[in-house]
Each structure stands twice: as structure tokens, then as C-alpha cells.
């Protein structure tokens, strides 16, 4: 477990936490954008090691949480059709739509299959020429290259029974939306290391500049997160707002250029609805016109689907860092992982699920 145990070294983490305590002189609010980071913070109890003046708020960086209800409902409708094999990453099967989830569709006879890569869905399509195979292409910049590659592969193979239900989201526009909101409390950002490993961080200096907010590219291990917080606090205390890379073992300024090229070959920017937040301009990717025959929404009659949301949970405010899960009256009462009211509770990387699993009442 080389390169892992070092980043979970309790002494090193404590040393960084002590340095944070020495550095901080006033309260600061920092958002970790990524659900994977939220998960680590709760799993290792890192908040307990931080000085009280550091408030961590949890961002919208969970692809499962922010996939729009409309898109989930479209997935449920397509997956319920005969002669369709609906393929998806496992996490999406539990996410509630307006009237159930993909597990429910499976229980009522729909052919819903968990795959670990969009390329696995290609194989299923090849093996089932008499069925329409649909892949639920959700996720941030991390899943987009493989999903784009699946379209290229389907195109090269001449597959006519494969399509994507695309609901990709992009981090930088979401950061704009959060920081541009009049109610934003976020003073510093821990940027999502995995996203930056693909995209680099060339999009971030303009964000830091525009909103006077320091941004630290941060990994997912306890030491990564502690260092990310320390670097952010140092900047906040100094009044600076630069972009710093605390995940240099994985992330470069340019990122993975071939992966970016693959994405650009297949997808183009579009406005995207984020569950709980709403429409954010240019925050998504859709298939380019030349690949529109691989768009499941063109292949199946799902245009008229209108989702219906209840008003109970506060997932939207949680995803924007305005409130914490424990501030929700439904948290751990009407809303639990077994009976989630919102996607932040259902996804394993959702903030509410992380709180429920690791802290419950903290």
C-alpha cells in the first residue's frame, strides 16, 4: 500500500493540524467541492482534529447527488421498456426518481445491469444485437473520457443498438454558481483532485481572481485534506487568492490532454440542471450533433417527462454549502439511506449519507 499508508500517517496529519491551529486567527468557511473528500473527512473524523475556527462545508461534487430528477425519471422510463438493457454504474440504481429507482424497475422486470465501465456496456450491446443497450452516462470530468470513448468505439464498430443517456456535469461552472450566489458563505475551496487529474487546473485562476477566493487542488487521503486546508487557511490569513496544487503527485496544470481531446471529440458544452441547485449555464456536456444518433433521448420517447419533487428535504442548500445535513428536520428521521428523501442521502458519497454513516448526530 505504498503511496497510501504515508497519506494516512496519524503523526503527519496531526502535525499539519497543529500547524493549522498555529496559523489560524479568525473563523473561515472552506468548501470541499468533492463528495469523495466529504466522505474521507467523515470517515476519518478529520473535523474533530480541526480548530473550531475552521468550518468545512460540503459542495455539490457528487455525480450521483446532482444528476437531475428529470434525467433519473428518463432513466426509469427507458429502463422499464421491453427489449431494453439499461446499464449503469451501481450507485445510480439507488437514486430515487419521482416514482422509484432503478432497483425498483429491476424488481418489476426491467433489465437493469450494473457495469463498471461504459466500455462494458459496449460488450453487452455486441452480445445482444436484438436489444437496445443504453448506458447512463453520468458523472463529472472523471467519467467523461471513458464515456466519450464508448461512443467512438460504438461508431467504429457500427453498433446500432447502443446509446447513452447523457447527464454529465462540470466542476468549474458549479464553482462560479456557488461563489456568485448572494448567499454564498464559501471563502476558500478545496478543488477536486480527481477531476483536476483529467482536466488540469488551468480553468481555476480566473475563478480565484474573480471571487477573491483561494483554491487548493486537494487529494482524498487524510494528509491530502489536512494539507489542502492548511494551504487554504494560509492564503486566507494572508489575504491572497491564488490557485495552489497540493496534489502534485497526480495533477498537473494541463491535466490529461488526450483525455480532454477525447471528450471534446464527442461532447460539447451545454446548460445542465443540477439536482437541488437548478440550471447552471455551460455546466454540462451533451453529444455533438454528429453523434446525436447515440443519444438515448432521441431514440426513446422521453421528452415529455416532467419530474415531481416534494418539498421536504434541503438537499439544495446542502449542495451549495449553505446548510449541513444535521440542519435538516428530516435528517435521520424521515430521511435515511433506506428511505432517502434526497440524493445527498442515497449516494454513498453524498454529504447526508456520509454524516448518517459516520456521525449521525454530529
Amino acid at each position: 500500500m505504498k503511496y497510501l499508508s504515508e497519506y494516512r500517517d496519524a503523526q503527519l496529519v496531526r502535525a499539519v493540524m497543529d500547524e493549522i491551529s498555529r496559523t489560524i486567527h479568525q473563523p473561515w468557511v472552506i468548501m470541499e467541492i468533492c463528495g469523495g473528500q466529504t466522505h474521507s473527512i467523515m470517515k476519518y473524523g478529520l473535523e474533530q482534529l480541526l480548530p473550531a475556527d475552521v468550518e468545512l462545508v460540503h459542495g455539490p461534487g457528487c455525480p450521483v447527488c446532482v444528476t437531475s430528477l428529470e434525467m433519473i425519471d428518463k432513466a426509469l422510463a427507458i429502463a422499464s421498456l421491453p427489449n431494453v438493457i439499461f446499464t449503469s454504474y451501481g450507485d445510480m440504481l439507488r437514486v430515487p426518481g419521482s416514482s422509484g429507482d432503478l432497483f425498483s424497475v429491476r424488481a418489476t422486470g426491467g433489465d437493469v445491469r450494473v457495469v463498471y465501465s461504459s466500455l462494458d456496456a459496449i460488450k453487452i450491446a455486441q452480445e445482444n444485437p436484438d436489444k437496445q443497450v443504453v448506458f447512463f452516462a453520468i458523472g463529472f470530468e472523471t467519467t467523461a473520457p471513458a464515456n466519450a470513448m464508448s461512443v467512438i468505439q460504438a461508431h467504429n464498430l457500427g453498433l446500432e443498438n447502443f446509446s447513452l443517456l447523457v447527464s454529465h456535469v462540470r466542476v468549474p461552472p458549479a464553482m462560479h454558481a456557488i461563489l456568485g450566489s448572494p448567499s454564498s458563505r464559501v471563502q476558500g475551496f478545496l478543488a477536486a483532485g480527481h477531476v483536476c487529474s483529467v482536466m488540469g487546473f488551468w480553468e481555476y485562476p480566473s475563478i480565484a481572481e474573480k471571487y477573491n477566493v483561494p483554491i487548493t487542488i486537494t487529494g482524498f487521503e487524510p494528509l491530502d485534506i489536512a494539507q489542502g486546508i492548511l494551504l487554504t487557511i494560509r492564503q486566507l490569513e494572508n489575504g491572497s487568492h491564488a490557485v495552489e496544487n497540493a496534489y502534485a503527485r497526480v495533477v498537473t496544470f494541463d491535466g490529461n490532454r488526450p483525455a480532454q481531446k477525447t471528450i471534446r471529440q464527442v461532447f460539447e458544452d451545454c446548460a445542465q440542471a443540477w439536482r437541488g441547485i437548478g440550471m447552471i449555464p455551460l455546466s454540462g456536456w451533451r453529444l455533438k450533433d454528429e453523434f446525436s444518433n447515440y443519444d438515448a433521448t432521441n431514440r426513446f420517447q422521453v421528452q415529455s417527462i416532467k419530474p415531481s419533487e416534494s418539498q421536504l428535504c434541503i438537499a439544495g442548500q446542502i449542495l451549495q454549502g449553505l446548510k449541513k445535513p444535521v440542519n435538516c428536520p428530516a435528517y435521520a428521521t424521515q430521511c435515511t439511506p433506506e428511505h432517502p428523501l434526497g440524493a445527498t442521502m442515497v449516494s454513498s458519497e453524498g454529504a447526508c449519507a456520509a454524516y448518517y454513516r459516520y456521525g449521525r448526530s454530529q
Binding site: 496519524a10 478529520l46 428535504c313
Partner: protein, 359 residues
């Protein structure tokens, strides 16, 4: 990029899921959904004091005519469905024998007899069945139990996954032994007999759905001989549980609920093989929730803990045994974990199926 202004909508949320009206896979995960299903559907319908104990099986007293000579009998039943039927370290037949032998042993029973029921799918290769039966025979010999009755049904092709096996076990509980999930007391010590997650990861790797290979074997094994050795040392064993589906975390939560106590475990004391830890890292799983088929949790009086631990360590199935925690005063029936950083977090039951993370 043009300047995207935030357009924050009103707060939105979907309606609760109708899972409670239809069975989904999560109901068989061994976690909270299974627990809820059992308590809400089965226990409430088959209401009786023995079932209500919520242990791995039922304990009843059978009188031999002289009340003073009544004998306590432990009975447990289990159905086994696994894909693939054969995996490194075991197969469905070995699992079917060991699983039920272990459930009887976890009540302090000395397993003696098994019955078995087969559901076979039309088209099943007889050679596969022969191999499974041979495996059951050899496991029964190892566990010193006899298969005394059985049943066979055949269903149409496509209606079963090759074959399913049900086994029911019966064993006698020695005098002076009182083991139940209700018996954990503050001050007791939690012992684990070895590394966790071996079975779950070995089976997952054997399915070939994921692009990873683990040099790992399932830990499936009969634990009754180990339990007997422990009871020979001391009768102050309060709880025994084999952490199968739902893993260590779910089993500890069940015990905490049954006994109305808190349980505090220590992260750095829980043995996990490096291959299991690595696979879990890759998949986004927590080893605490991964299934085991040859491990036990023992909750014992503090004064005998070291003695029990030493006994486990000299047994082939307990060499990596460790003290992993303690029973605390009632703490909302919660299981908590002291992390390697000295922080404390909750360890909940498994919610539904364990699903690999997206990224």
C-alpha cells in the same frame, strides 16, 4: 466561457421510495434492509419468544421426561445462493454445510445433524452436482456432522441460478453455556477470530465482472471445533456471532441492539489482509461491511479475554485473532470506531447492497 450566473431554484426533493412494497436485492444484503424485512414481516407474523431472541437460530429445551434432565437444542436454517458456484477456497456445497454448522455453533451448540434441500435448475450438469455433494460430504466430515435428511426440487431453466441449497442444523448446547446476542455487558471484550472480508472479495474477484484478480481465498470453514476449544477454556463467553453478509459492522450493530449496549472498536486492531484492503480501496468498499464465512466475533467477560484469545491463536482458524474493542454503557445502541487518528466515528449497519463507487 461566458459568465454563468447562478440560478438557484427552490428546494427540491423526491418522494420516498416504495421499496417496502416490493423486494429488491438490498433486502438480501444482510444489512439494515434485511433486518427491517425480518422484523417487520417475519418476526411479527411468526411471533414467539424463541424467534424474538433474534439470534442465528432458535434454542429450545427438550425434556426427556424428567424435567431436571431437559436438554437444550439449537436449531438453525440457512439458504445458500452464490455466484459462481465454485470460487477460490470453496464452493456452494462447503458454504451450505459450514454456514449452518457455524450458526448452530454461534449459539453455543455442538452441531450434530444437518438436513438439506436442493433446488436444481433444469439443464444443470450432473458433474457439477456431484462435485458440490462431494464438497458437502467432506465439509460434514470435517465438522463432524451427519446429513440425515434431504429434499430435491427441479425448476425450469432460467428459474434458478444453477442450484440453491438450504441446510438446517441441529446441535446440543452443553450445560453451563449461555450464549446469545442479548448477553453483551458493559466491560466485556470484543474478540475477532481473524482477518475480515476474505470471502466477499474472493467471490467478487471470482465473478470476473471486475478487472481485478485477487490472490485470495474465501475463508469458508466450520467454526464449531474452534468454539468447542473456546468453551473448554471458559464458559464466560457471552455472545458469539459469525459476521457473514453485512460483515463485521452489521453483526456488531445487531448485537448492540439486542443487548442494548454500545460497542467501541479500534480501527488499528482489526485485522485485514493487504489484498482485501487493496481491493476495497479500488472498489470504494469498506472491509467492515464485506462478508466472511469462517470468522467469528466473541464477546467475553474481561477477565477471560486473554485466555480466550490465546486459545484462538493456537487454533488453525484463529491464528490472527485479536481483541478489537469493548462493550460500553448504553450509547444509543451504537457501534463506534476509534480511528487511527484518535477520532471517533459511527459504524452503522450496511444500508443495502454494497455498490462500487463511480469515480
Amino acid at each position: 466561457m461566458t459568465d454563468p450566473l447562478p440560478t438557484i431554484e427552490g428546494l427540491v426533493c423526491p418522494v420516498p421510495l416504495p421499496h417496502n412494497e416490493r423486494i429488491v436485492l438490498g433486502h438480501g444484503s444482510g444489512g439494515r434492509m434485511s433486518f427491517d424485512l425480518i422484523t417487520k414481516i417475519f418476526t411479527s407474523s411468526f411471533d414467539n419468544p424463541i424467534l424474538k431472541q433474534g439470534d442465528d437460530g432458535g434454542v429450545l429445551s427438550i425434556s426427556t421426561g424428567d424435567q431436571a434432565a431437559s436438554q437444550r437444542v439449537a436449531i438453525s436454517t440457512d439458504s445458500h445462493v452464490v455466484t459462481p458456484l465454485f470460487f477460490p477456497g470453496g464452493d456452494i456445497g462447503k458454504l451450505a454445510v459450514c454456514g449452518t454448522v457455524n450458526d448452530v455453533a454461534m449459539m453455543g451448540g455442538n452441531p450434530l445433524y444437518l438436513t438439506t434441500g436442493f433446488i436444481l435448475e433444469e439443464g444443470l450438469d450432473l458433474e457439477i452436482l456431484r462435485k458440490v455433494i462431494e464438497s458437502m460430504r467432506s465439509s460434514a466430515v470435517e465438522a463432524k456432522v451427519q446429513v440425515i435428511a434431504g429434499d430435491t426440487k427441479v425448476v425450469q431453466k432460467g428459474k434458478a441460478d444453477g442450484l440453491y441449497i438450504n441446510t438446517t442444523g441441529l446441535g446440543l448446547i452443553p450445560d453451563g453455556v449461555n450464549i446469545s446476542g442479548h448477553n453483551a455487558r458493559p466491560g466485556d471484550v470484543v474478540i475477532l477470530s481473524g482477518t475480515i472480508g476474505d470471502h466477499g472479495i474472493a467471490v467478487l474477484a471470482a465473478r470476473g465482472e471486475l478487472d481485478f484478480e485477487a490472490q485470495l481465498e474465501s475463508d469458508v470453514a466450520p467454526l464449531n471445533n474452534l468454539v468447542r476449544a473456546m468453551l473448554d477454556v471458559s464458559k464466560a463467553i457471552h455472545v458469539l456471532r459469525d459476521p457473514t453478509r453485512g460483515g463485521l459492522a452489521t453483526s456488531l450493530n445487531e448485537i448492540a441492539l439486542q443487548s442494548g449496549v454500545g460497542i467501541n472498536i479500534y480501527e488499528n486492531a482489526i485485522p485485514v489482509k493487504p489484498a482485501v484492503a487493496a481491493a476495497c480501496e479500488m472498489l470504494g468498499f469498506d472491509p467492515l461491511y464485506v462478508a466472511n464465512e469462517g470468522k467469528l466475533i466473541a464477546i467475553v467477560a474481561n477477565e477471560v479475554a486473554e485466555q480466550i484469545l490465546s486459545t484462538l491463536k493456537v487454533h488453525p482458524l484463529g491464528q490472527e485473532a485479536a481483541i478489537i474493542g469493548k462493550i460500553t454503557e448504553h450509547a444509543g445502541d451504537h457501534v463506534t470506531l476509534k480511528t487511527t487518528f484518535g477520532t471517533t466515528r459511527m459504524v452503522d449497519m450496511l444500508s443495502g447492497e454494497m455498490l462500487p463507487r463511480i469515480c
